[in-house]
């Protein structure tokens, strides 16, 4: 491990009404990946922003190369070689890759015009150093895949000749293969002696790239540990501040009648092929699979978003054909969608309005609605689900990811469907909120709901499901039941990748 490049001592950062950081110490060495972990609002991004010069700390000092530095804005930090790779892409879609990399630092010809050739040459070299020669530096960023765009972001950061790079939740939008290539890049950067601050709450990633982990909770530093020095469980305990040995709660309950069943379900786009599945009341059924395996597409067929090409759907053993989300809800099917910001919520509308969005017609069968009653219902769910918001009249966009997801759940609870499909229900939310959502799913199952859970995080599928269907390239290739020998991540993971295993569904 190299020498220390950056130290932050006694950092305190105040926001109106709260201490975002309270006397936090942090240090970073050359060639190390230092992970910052904590729940939403723990202060990890705030600390990163202080180091990046985006925020000014009220107290404390930052030393860089053994000299005290006081950055006035990110530009000064950039000049020292401290750069950020942002989570949301900060690229302009319809200019070239090279132009994006050199945005506001364009090379110019003698005439003062942009020197495209020189920028493209240097961009090409950067791409080469990232082993990404296949990315055409002349093409518009818009034409690149998400992962390629992230490589452009990294190339842009590298063009500043960084000593320190800050990655803020870089894998949130990437598929597994893309994550692998990102990690390969991070390893390469490490070898070049760049110090990396990695903000994340995806614990399964830590052993793959991390060297040390600093845990923050409520703005306070809890500990800094080496990657091998603590177990996941200890980490989570430190993050949430209480014992969470029971992350996944499942109560034993009886599975009764089949609530939903499909026979040879196919869609028009070839992404769902001959899917046969069933869910009983009181059961949680997981669907595991890689991105693109057809899991979400299956949910979209059941919820009437996409038209069914062939095959049958039975609800309570009665043949149905969901034609639209409205029709699906009338059949008693609910969908907690993968993208809560775009599909799950009306972000600009209040918590209260979102809570009753689906059930409005049930609550007010007549023409007029009563805002008072809506508020009452919303307050009830706010209490039940512990939604952290100062008021139910607040727009959902101001809530944290976990609380937004709770509003989505409140929406469905107030509608009370028999069958609920959860598509990536815990994506982008912190551990505490995750646990609450797991608890709620369990409770719903014991109340006799039939639940389908789609998730890319194998541990949670395994932790929550009674049975798991494994999907691969649009078909269900296998089914494993809790308690059986194959009910573990190695065996399920292998089948997700290879698609081999139970062949009865795979004849098409």
């Amino acid at each position: 491990m190299g020498k220390t490049i950056l130290t932050a001592r006694h950092i305190t950062k105040l926001f109106p009404g709260m201490k975002a950081l309270d006397n936090v110490d942090f240090d970073l060495r050359e060639g190390e990946v230092h992970i910052l972990v904590g729940e939403n609002g723990a202060g990890k991004s705030t600390l990163a922003k202080v180091i990046l010069g985006a925020y000014k700390a009220e107290e404390g000092e930052v030393t860089f190369d053994n000299q005290i530095v006081k950055f006035n804005g990110t530009k000064e930090a950039l000049a020292k070689g401290i750069v950020a790779v942002y989570q949301e892409f900060t690229l302009v879609p319809h200019i070239s890759v090279a132009q994006n990399i050199f945005l506001n630092r364009e090379y110019r010809t003698k005439l003062g015009l942009i020197d495209h050739k020189r920028m493209e040459k240097e961009a090409r070299e950067l791409m080469k150093s990232l082993n990404c020669e296949y990315i055409d530096v002349k093409s518009h960023v818009k034409n690149l895949s998400v992962a390629e765009q992230q490589m452009v972001e990294i190339a842009k950061a590298l063009s500043f000749k960084p000593r320190i790079m800050v990655f803020d939740e870089p894998t949130a939008t990437l598929s597994e293969r893309e994550v692998d290539s990102l990690f390969a890049q991070i390893h390469r950067l490490k070898k070049e002696g760049i110090g990396i601050i990695y903000v994340s709450h995806r614990m399964q990633e830590f052993p793959l790239i991390g060297d040390r982990i600093t845990i923050l909770r409520d703005g306070v530093k809890i500990n800094t540990v080496g990657i091998d020095e603590c177990t996941n469980e200890e980490l989570v305990n430190m993050m949430v501040g209480r014992d969470v040995s029971q992350v996944y709660v499942r109560t034993e309950n009886k599975h009764s009648d089949i609530a939903l069943r499909t026979e040879n379900l196919c869609d028009h786009r070839g992404k769902v092929r001959n899917v046969n599945l069933e869910v009983r009341r009181g059961e949680i059924v997981g669907i595991a699979g890689l991105v693109g395996a057809g899991r979400t597409e299956t949910a979209e067929l059941l919820y009437g978003i996409q038209p069914i090409k062939s095959g049958e759907v039975y609800v309570n053993e009665k043949k149905v054909s969901p034609k639209s989300p409205k029709h699906a809800t009338e059949l008693g099917i609910g969908l907690v969608s993968e993208d809560r910001k775009r599909q799950g919520l009306a972000l600009d509308e209040s918590v209260a309005l979102n809570t009753v969005a689906v059930s409005l017609k049930q609550i007010f069968p007549k023409f007029f609605i009563s805002n008072k009653k809506i508020t009452e219902i919303a307050l009830d769910y706010k209490k039940q689900l512990r939604i952290a918001t100062t008021s139910v009249n607040k727009a959902c966009k101001y809530l944290s990811g976990g609380n937004q997801q709770k509003v989505v759940l409140a929406k469905w609870l107030s509608f009370n469907p028999d069958i609920l499909i959860f598509d990536e229900p815990t994506r982008g939310i912190d551990v505490a909120a995750k646990m609450e959502i797991y608890g709620l799913m369990d409770k719903l199952a014991s109340e006799g709901k039939a639940i389908i859970m789609i998730s890319s995080e194998l541990p949670e599928v395994i932790g929550m499901s009674d049975r798991i269907y494994i999907m691969h390239e649009g078909t269900i290739v296998d089914e494993v039941t809790r308690g059986s020998e194959e009910f573990n991540s190695e065996s399920i993971g292998a089948r997700m990748m290879l698609g081999s295993g139970g062949a009865e569904n795979a004849e098409s």
């Binding site: 690229l91 302009v92 879609p93 319809h94 818009k142």
Partner: protein, 327 residues
């Protein structure tokens, strides 16, 4: 229409002929079809003098549309551009009548439209007001000023300069058309080869990216609207030379035609996509349809409906293509 913009962006030594053909804006094909249709209906249609006329008539709108393209790239529209053109004809004559040399008056007017543009940009950027509304307000203000200066009618000042602009020809093409060509080249270079142009694409594509790169979106917007204002000013001078008088409503509605031409040319209102080359075809399409309908003798009351339908059809096709390509 995804590849429309690629016409300008890639100097593309590596591009094959096929790729190059694919990059031609669809509106260009539409243009060919429509010219073919008109020449089929009337054998006299396909003549050099007719096309020369179309080009001359299209020139002022063409120039305005080049400016409008820059605004549309920032996800805005400037509805005051037509009013600015009219204002230039009026204000130049107004100043000339009061003893200022005509050419100087022209320059002063162009500076005025630049300032009007800058004010537009300031209101849009600082007030975070939808450009549509801010510039609509400006349109009315500028119109009122023009009407006040002229007491509602045309005002006159005679000069040889007008004829110099409209009747001097270089290679059989009048000087004013060359002016439009010069404006095109300047806008093209600005968009493709300057920081300012890169920032215009950034304004429409991802403002956050600009901020993080240390660029002020407010300044950029002000510059863009001022730039479009200046271009409208040039269009105003050309218009003055053609009508040889100050006419307060001469360019009413041009701003919308310019938006339509821009969109027909493949520039998107949504995400900073497109460029000024397509706009040429967009303007020509509108003008050629109008001219063709005249030549084959369609009544003018039907002409607008036909042009409107074609504009709608083009935009609907674009939307369908966009939705398809997403799936």
């Amino acid at each position: 229409m995804q590849k429309v913009n690629a016409v300008q962006n890639n100097t593309g030594q590596s591009a094959s002929v096929l790729q190059r053909i694919k990059r031609v804006p669809p509106v260009a094909y539409m243009l060919i079809v429509i010219i073919a249709a008109f020449s089929f209906m009337d054998p006299h249609y396909l003549s050099f003098s007719n096309f020369r006329n179309v080009l001359i008539q299209a020139t002022p709108l063409m120039i305005v549309a080049f400016g409008q393209t820059c605004i549309v790239l920032t996800q805005g529209t400037d509805l005051s551009l037509g009013a600015q053109v009219s204002f230039v004809t009026v204000f130049t004559v107004f100043l000339a009548q009061r003893g200022i040399i005509l050419e100087v008056a022209m320059l002063i007017s162009i500076v005025c439209t630049m300032l009007i543009g800058a004010l537009n940009g300031l209101i849009v950027a600082k007030g975070n007001i939808p450009p549509f509304i801010a510039t609509y307000g400006m349109q009315n203000i500028v119109n009122s000023i023009s009407l006040l200066l002229t007491a509602g009618s045309s005002i006159f000042y005679s000069s040889f300069t007008y004829r110099v602009v409209t009747e001097t020809t270089i290679l059989f093409i009048p000087l004013m058309v060359w002016v439009a060509a010069a404006v095109f080249i300047v806008v093209w270079i600005v968009l493709r080869k300057t920081k300012f142009g890169t920032n215009i694409y950034g304004l429409g594509g991802n403002r956050e990216a600009l901020v993080l790169a240390g660029i002020s979106p407010v300044k950029c917007l002000i510059k863009t609207y001022a730039f479009a204002g200046m271009i409208a000013g040039i269009a105003g001078v050309i218009t003055l030379c053609r009508v040889e008088s100050g006419q307060p409503i001469v360019a009413t509605g041009w701003e919308f035609q310019a938006v339509a031409a821009t969109l027909l040319g493949g520039t998107s209102l949504r995400e900073g996509k497109g460029g000024v080359t397509g706009t040429i075809f967009g303007v020509l399409l509108i003008r050629i349809i109008k001219n063709g309908l005249n030549v084959i003798g369609v009544q003018s009351i039907f002409q607008n409906a036909i042009i409107g339908s074609i504009v709608l059809a083009a935009i609907i096709i674009d939307a369908v293509v966009r939705i398809r390509s997403k799936e």
